[in-house]
Structures are given as structure tokens and as C-alpha cells.
């Protein structure tokens, strides 16, 4: 069985976006998520010698990030009172006896499920993106996710438009294949 090895120099290029997506969907704040990702990389570096090679690099980093997210919530909930759950039943006091029914989840609501599904989809796309060559990944991300226009990307990366469209085309084709295998 081939052992996995850690390669910290490539971490940020390969996993920063993936970890960031994961963190944002859990803490709902870009700044905090960024800090958590940074801390994850530090922690990974510090405990790199404890890495046994059983898991893939990314799985290992995600496991660290999970702990970081939990620590984050522990920290902001350190005051006991904040952790208390309060429900206000008296708000609609004229609807006597109906309060229990109102708390029941709506079985026809698809909102919750689709939010979870979309989050998983985001991670799936991200992991497909990380398999692309670096330049294609960069161009596709800038164009599709950040929505920067063609001219600006060309200026920034010093390429010409037809070059850009070729890369976009290759990126899209491999993404379609990858998502076809991993998502549908």
C-alpha cells in the first residue's frame, strides 16, 4: 500500500480554497474562516511529524480544520448564558395550544436539504478544480467564480484573449468529466 506523504509547500495552492469553502459554510464569516484556514495550516505544520500516512493530505487537513471550527464555537460560547437555548412561546399567545405544531419541521420544505446539497456540490467542484493544471484552475476561478471580466484577467496574467478562451475551454471540459464521475 502506498503511504501518503505531506508536502507543506503545496498546501496553500492546492487546498486553501477547498478548506476555505468548508470553513465559510460553517462559520458564515469570511474573515473568521480565513483565520481558521491559516491556523489549520500552522497546526498541520507543527504536527506534521505525527502524520502516519494513512489518510490523504486533504482529509488530514480537513480533520484539523474541523477541530478548529469546534474550538471557535467553544470560544465564542464560553459564557454559559450564551449556550442556553431560549424559546419564546408567548409571542403568539392568541394561538393557544398551537405552539407545538408551529415548531414542527415542514416536511415539504426543500430549503434545508438543498442548502446542504449545494454545500457538498461546492466542495465537489472545488476538489475537481484542484485536479486541473494550476493556470487553468486560476483562469476558471477568476472568470467563473469571481466574475472578473476577460480584459482584466488578460492584463493581470499577461495572456491574450484567445489564449484565455482555450484555457477556459479545457478547464470546462475536464470539469464536466470530473463532475460527471463524482457528482451525478
Amino acid at each position: 500500500m502506498s503511504k501518503h506523504r505531506l508536502n507543506p509547500d503545496t498546501w496553500i495552492d492546492l487546498y486553501a480554497d477547498y478548506l476555505f469553502n468548508y470553513a465559510v459554510s460553517r462559520v458564515n464569516d469570511a474573515e473568521i474562516a480565513k483565520d481558521l484556514v491559516q491556523e489549520t495550516f500552522f497546526a498541520g505544520l507543527k504536527s506534521a511529524k505525527n502524520f502516519k500516512g494513512d489518510a490523504a493530505e486533504r482529509t488530514w487537513l480537513i480533520a484539523i480544520l474541523k477541530r478548529k471550527v469546534i474550538d471557535h464555537y467553544r470560544k465564542i460560547n464560553s459564557n454559559k448564558g450564551k449556550a442556553e437555548v431560549r424559546m419564546n412561546y408567548s409571542a403568539g399567545s392568541d394561538s393557544e395550544g398551537d405552539w407545538l405544531e408551529e415548531q414542527v419541521a415542514d416536511p415539504f420544505s426543500k430549503l434545508e436539504n438543498s442548502a446542504i446539497e449545494n454545500e457538498e456540490l461546492g466542495l465537489a467542484i472545488q476538489s475537481c478544480l484542484s485536479k486541473l493544471p494550476k493556470k487553468q484552475n486560476l483562469v476558471f476561478t477568476m472568470k467563473t467564480i469571481q466574475g472578473i471580466n476577460t480584459e482584466d484577467i488578460c492584463n493581470e496574467l499577461d495572456i491574450n484573449p484567445s489564449n484565455l478562451w482555450v484555457m477556459i475551454h479545457r478547464a470546462r471540459t475536464s470539469l464536466m468529466d470530473c463532475l460527471n464521475q463524482n457528482w451525478f
Partner: protein, 77 residues
């Protein structure tokens, strides 16, 4: 008539709303006659809608560069 190469290029461009009206007309005529390209076009639109649906977040290059700088300092130690 446009070639399949050209059609794919126009199709990619349309995904970002960057094709002109005339280009879109040329493309749709081609898609009407060419099965391979129309399949590609369908998959392409699907990918676009998936990317929108996924509501993805990304670190900017500046953020990543900053992260790298701090990280490298730690790495050397």
C-alpha cells in the same frame, strides 16, 4: 456555416454572456444541425448553473499570497 471548433468557442463565450447577437444566431444554427456540439452546449450550460448554485467562495490571490508569506516564515523555523 461555422466549424465545430468555432461553435465550441462561441458556446464557451455565451456562458459568460460575452457573445454578440450575431454570434448567438450563428451558434444556434450550428447547434440545430450538429448533435455533438448541442450535447456539449447542454453540458456546458449545466456546468454554469451548477457553479452558480454551489454559491462558492474563494480566497483572493492577495489573501493567498499573504497566507503564503506568513506560512513560509513558520515553515523555515
Amino acid at each position: 456555416m461555422i466549424s465545430c471548433e468555432k461553435a465550441k468557442h462561441l458556446c464557451d463565450k455565451s456562458q459568460y454572456n460575452e457573445s454578440s447577437l450575431w454570434e448567438r444566431i450563428k451558434l444556434s444554427i450550428h447547434l440545430y444541425t450538429c448533435k455533438v456540439c448541442s450535447k456539449y452546449s447542454k453540458k456546458n450550460s449545466k456546468l454554469t448553473s451548477l457553479c452558480e448554485q454551489a454559491n462558492m467562495f474563494n480566497l483572493s490571490e492577495a489573501d493567498k499570497a499573504e497566507m503564503k508569506k506568513v506560512f513560509d516564515q513558520e515553515n523555515i523555523k
